[in-house]
């Protein structure tokens, strides 16, 4: 199956109608704050500033404090960066140091 790629910019909405600015939301899952967490965060920000025209919302979830979320959110490894919005939801394991793989995984690669 070929992956579906969607073009994106902040003036395009999901299906016709008046254009709304797109909201980008990422979640970074970690167990405790480690150097890897910080690297992941840094890399994510860089990727976003490069690929996005808007400031994304980045949430950090510490599974050390809320371990049950690992199961409910389906987090199998950390650090994990999840693209929450706009869809599709994509999960990437690691600290995003391989940029190409990271962007591909988050479906933020160049068209």
């Amino acid at each position: 199956m070929r992956p579906v790629r969607r073009p994106y910019d902040d003036r395009t909405s999901a299906g016709g109608g008046p254009s709304l600015p797109e909201r980008w939301v990422f979640r970074l899952y970690t167990v405790g704050i480690t150097p890897a967490t910080e690297t992941a965060l840094k890399n994510l920000r860089e990727i976003c500033s490069e690929r996005l025209a808007v400031e994304p919302e980045i949430q950090v979830v510490d599974l050390a404090r809320e371990p049950e979320l690992a199961v409910t959110h389906g987090i199998f490894a950390v650090p994990m960066v999840v693209r929450q919005a706009p869809p599709p939801v994509r999960k990437v394991i690691g600290d995003l140091s391989d940029r190409d793989r990271a962007m591909a995984g988050l479906e933020m690669g160049s068209l």
């Binding site: 199956m1 890897a36 960066v81 994509r90 394991i93 995003l96 793989r101 995984g105």
Partner: protein
Amino acid sequence: MFRYALGTHGSSDFAEAILDASADGIVVVDAQGIVVRCNPRAEELLGRSAEELLGENFGTVSNPDASGGAADIRVLHRDGSSRVVEVRTAETSWKGSPVLVVTLRDITERLEAQEQRERLLSIIDATPSLVGISDRNGRVLYLNRAGRALVGLEPAGKLPDLHAEDLHPAWAAQRIQQEGIPRALQEGSWQGESALRGPEGREIPVWQIVLAHPGSDGRVAYLSTVAQDLSRWKAAEAALAERVKELRTLYGASRELARSDLRLEERLSRLVGILPPGWLHPSLTEARIQWRDRSFATHGFQETPWMLTSPILAGDREVGRIQVALTRECEDQEEGEGPFLAEERELLDAVSAAISEAVERERLQQEFVQAQKMETIGRLAGGTAHDFNNLLSVIQAHADAALASLPPDSPESDDISRILAATFQGTSLTNQLLTFSRKQVLEEELVRLPDRLEGLQPTLRRLIPARIHLEVEADPDAPTVRLDASKLDQVVLNLVINAVDAIQNEGVMTLSLEERVLTDVEVGSRSGDPSPGRYAQLTVRDSGAGMPPEVTERIFEPFFTTKAEGHGTGLGLSMVFGFVRQSRGYIQVDSAPGEGSSVRLLFPAVAGSDADAPHPSEAEAAPDAVPAPEASLAGLRVLVVDDNDGMRTALRRMLSRSGIQVQEAASGREALEMEREALEAIDVLLTDLVMPSMSGVQLARELKALHPGLRIILMSGYALRELHAAATEGEALNPEFLSKPFTLDEAREALRRALA
């Protein structure tokens, strides 16, 4: 998205077998990260079955493969636990679609082991002891930071080619080779004292442990060692041993000095041998103690440039010293007092202080013993003399009276004269005793000694035989003193006579007089320590036989004489002693066998102008002065009070011959019981001083209160200076003194003085 069901149909058994057998967890995801396949190990790691995992959004991987475990990726088990994994990926296709094969290798244990190893390594590198490993041939494989520093290597970096032997001095290497390693091989480990070879060839003492590590073949594969630097500990141990040695020496010194069963000289002699062991190099140390003119030294003592000296003091005066000398220079001493330790200086000072104390104690003790002896003898002598005087007075008085009533040329007259002469000799004797016991009443006046000496010279020259040459050196500026001049004459005569007796054949005698100023408390005089001040010093020196110390110590003792029986009473010098003391002076004797003797008398100078002293022509020129012409005493009424009946009778007879009217009373009470009118008629009270119930002074006071015009004469064979002073102080008694025994003339003199 495509889901691929697990199952045996459509998949190769070979691939399945490989997947199932893998010790790593394998998860296969599609391009969107959805799980299409996983293996049993992955199920274990994730805590979920394959059925639960299929179709789940697992995610893709964003780390490069080469990073190994560095990214610290953890896989989460359903139960909340996690394992650290090394993640590798491979892109491939399956059934025509691109998939990502994710391999999860559990490296948790490996990481923990690594961390623990790192912790241990940091301990090994932090410890100040040497830690090293060598192979079985002795080639050094590892040395920790401290070990490298101890043997002078770079702190880090590749080790140079070294054999374990290179790290030790020969003797230590041998010990380890012959004892350490075999023991370690046998029992697993060995410990012992050893040494490392430090930079510049310095030997570092260590406590070393050697361990043998067997390989799989049972033989030794590795040897490891830990060596603890003992330098500081050994230095501390050595210093402690030195301090203990020093203390022991001090204890020993104290003990020896405290041995009162030995003479001081003996103690010092023993003490000197105790000292060298307390020093750092006992075999090179010698000691010497010098005190007065004595010297006690260890066998090889010599003065060297490397010497410690500490004085022995009596008060502030140095009377000796103690020295410790090194026979050669020693290089390994600490900084401080040249070749000696600071502690050794302190030790010597402590010992010298102890000696000073012992010397002082000894001196005081001797003085005390001597003073006690003299005191006892003095009391004995004084009491005896008193009684004798009374008896002599009686004899004298009656003999006097008898003589007066006899014709001058009769044979009886001759006999009585001889009796009288004998009593005078007797009184002279008792006077000497009394002078010794300081019970004499002295008539003191200001005396210019140069003049007095000059006046004495004719008498002296008559006394000194021709074979002896007399030299007189009198400083005309010698200070004036206050003393009883006639007694001084006797004293000088006595000393001169002794000097004459000391010179057997020909010889020289010197009489010198000079001023002496003492700035420090002098020690070494026989009669206490003179205090600083100005003195007139009179010295009688002879070139005679001299005296050994045993004699010098005792010459002032009454009845002590070196002469044969009958040739001397032994009272002369004791009289000198008593006189000098009573005149507030000091006496010093120097003598040695074969070197003659000198006796020095020091009398305190009178403060104020010397010109106050009376010119000799005004004072008594000669010992036997002629009394002033008589004034009549007839009709005088005298009350005689004395508890001694014979005394009263004698006095009555004596006085009545001069026309004096004598009343008697046996005691003060009896006197006071007399009729008031009778008492008021008395002109002079002549009373004994020391009487049983009431003293003469008391009586005098009472009578004077009744009859203010009464004159007082106190008489005693036992006149105490203190009573004298007490009697005259602040009272209007103004007594005259008559010392028993006295002649009629002396009595008349006293009466005249009382009436004046």
